[in-house]
Symmetry: C2
Subunit: 481 residues, 2 copies
Amino acid sequence: MEELRFLQKAERLKKELIRETVVLEGSERILKDNDEIVFDLGDHYVGYLTVDLSSVGHHQDAPLYFQIVFAEIKEELDQDTDDYHGWISKSWIQEEKIHIDVLPCSYRFERRYAFRYVKIRILNVSSNYSVRIDRLKVEAVSSADYRNVSYPEFSEADRKLDEVSLRTLHSCMQDVFEDGPKRDRRLWLGDLRLEALTNYYAFQNYDLVKRCLYLFAGSTLEEGRLASNVFTAPKVECDFQTMFDYTLFFICVLKDYYEASKDRETLIDLEPVCMRQYELLKDCFDEDDTIDLQKAGNVFVDWNFDLDKKASGQAIYIYALKDLLKIETELGKDVSSIEEEIKRKTEAALRMYDEEKGLFLSNSQISWMSQVWMILAGVTDPQTGRQILKNAENSEAAIRINSPYAYHHLIQAMIDVGLKEEAYEKMHGFWDGMIEKGSDTFWEIYNPEDPYVSPYGGLVVHSFCHAWSCTPSYFLRKYYY
Amino acid sequence: MEELRFLQKAERLKKELIRETVVLEGSERILKDNDEIVFDLGDHYVGYLTVDLSSVGHHQDAPLYFQIVFAEIKEELDQDTDDYHGWISKSWIQEEKIHIDVLPCSYRFERRYAFRYVKIRILNVSSNYSVRIDRLKVEAVSSADYRNVSYPEFSEADRKLDEVSLRTLHSCMQDVFEDGPKRDRRLWLGDLRLEALTNYYAFQNYDLVKRCLYLFAGSTLEEGRLASNVFTAPKVECDFQTMFDYTLFFICVLKDYYEASKDRETLIDLEPVCMRQYELLKDCFDEDDTIDLQKAGNVFVDWNFDLDKKASGQAIYIYALKDLLKIETELGKDVSSIEEEIKRKTEAALRMYDEEKGLFLSNSQISWMSQVWMILAGVTDPQTGRQILKNAENSEAAIRINSPYAYHHLIQAMIDVGLKEEAYEKMHGFWDGMIEKGSDTFWEIYNPEDPYVSPYGGLVVHSFCHAWSCTPSYFLRKYYY
């Protein structure tokens, strides 16, 4: 019953998207079989394309068959999509093959794409006619309104960093906060948390965060467990997959939302959902108060199969419980048992600390993320935290950070322990690389040492506009301006 | 001015197509990447397909990408379309690749297809879900109404021959008489003539013939010359290509139409167009009254590049002039000059006759079509005609007949010289082969000795429902019942 009410609330919070029309002149080029032409819209858009095509020469005496490729970054256009055989479904590749029986034609693609570049390749005409592309029109959509954004007096480097961050978030803000508008176009709790944080400092669309909270609350797995993500079409349904950390982040998103919006009604309404997650997940620990990864199941932390998640999982649990403590305190509830839980789990966390190495060990593994999350969870004092980060830097064996999502947490941890200037340099050092490559948005995956590396077996399925990479705008506005 | 009036008349004769809905149950089969499924609609249809698809398993977490192939005959489905590199545009191949973002989905294909078989091949799903095809719905269209057809008491063989002939014509009768609803979907004068003849004996849609006559009359090349074919979309425009014989057939179509409909108003209205063709084409002859192929340009006669067209062209001119004579006589005009022209051209035709061989020679070439058209033009008496056909039969060097279109003329010539029984056998001998191969319609190209031979370099672009092959219904009803 409660879930139905939550979903109805989510549905009522669904609003008309903001629409923007972008028109691009076509080309005078006369195209025959195998001719290609690339159009550059000059910025990243999410929306619906209409292409105006006409025939040249004799009357069109056979259908036109053409291929269209939509690309977020230019490098995608060079990929041979036939060569992609990775585990992510090939169906995400943004390309279509279209027959046009009668030219001239204003052809509107029914599907939504995320793109800056459009490549059109003529597959077949007949010998009696050729084709010309007269115009491209994009009806771009977003639920992010630039008119709500105020801009501090940024340095040029920060202005650019902010611009690309906001463009990333803008493109991901649709009917829900999507992880990426190209792929998976889906509401994930981990992405939502970072998007919401940035949104509060920029587009200030509180209702969209609220809607997403209610979508999660209204669509749970057995016993009320929150899934890692929910689908919204054809109807709202949560994914069968759970992640220990993503489930807990619901608490953090609600706490952040309340702090930003002061929407007490929603806090009261959804607090039981937070408590339910706590009740369910507190059983994922062994008698020594350390997380049991068998019981906890999947803990995401970072896109890294080599990473041992025990320490990070332990820390994220503490981190989330501290937010739950704030919620409960705000609502005047008895928080003694939560305080006790935090205390015991923190003590267990500290037992993972290797005094000699000056680093947290996760099943004896040294990794950046273990240090980062222990710092974010506040199990150490700032001074120790600074030393830990220095020790990690000096540890060649430390499992590295892979995703911009995990990079966000490093930057936050550095700021938390007072390394504000170093965090600023680190942030620019990482994110600027994508800007230098001419991207209008920040990527799902980025390794400065190997920018076009693909864990998926091909760039064509990468999301080059990915929500979890949008947080430089949050850092800049919260800590530096 | 006159052309505009003709086109307005054609436009007014355009009527709503007759629509028929055909629903086919889907399949319980659960489909993953590369799985294929073939649906058989049980008859040949021209129209619009809607496929209902749904997902099975977990929530659809990536688009569905599938390929669909529409086929008129089963053998088309075995073709690898990538292998086709012939001169007819590949864009005619009836296949599409479609992404579906949200399942379940009732996907309606916007284009019109001609098909009995539908093959669906799943290109990509994700590992989390599979696909099921729940239903196929065809909205079939035609301007031929079976309720107007009356059926004599056919023998079983004739009933079947008639059924397939009429299905062929039915599928080709759309907004115009198309040559083939798969390819080229276009109004050609040569096809129109045979379709109209059969139509008078079956569907009796006189207005569609009238509309087509006005489309030709309203869209001519310089000096009022009729093209071989006209396009109707995006607006009416005639093709730049002319054919000597097709231009002349306008006269025959009008004469046949008048005989069938007694529509004197149209006869009066379009008679000047016939006279104009005569005026233009009578200059294509040399001083000895034989056709000058350089001046005449393209003469179609048959799909045969080896065929010398001189004798056939000469004969078709006489044939058409005899129809013009009937029109002029009917309208009470002075016909002396036409009679004189027929006389002189017939004398020239007879000079092409080789007494020794008992055959007409076309630039010294012996061919079936030269004999057939000389007989149809009535330059010989029936008895000589019979002997000529016998001599052709015995001449191994005679260039053979290729298309069902040319075969029609052979049957007509045999009947004209009194070989009615032999013509009946010949007709069954030729057309029955396609029925035995399980086809619901008659083909554009058919060689009984090599049924799947392709002059185009691939079966995928063949039209297996082709107007010019529909005339057995005409022969059966006019001469045998």
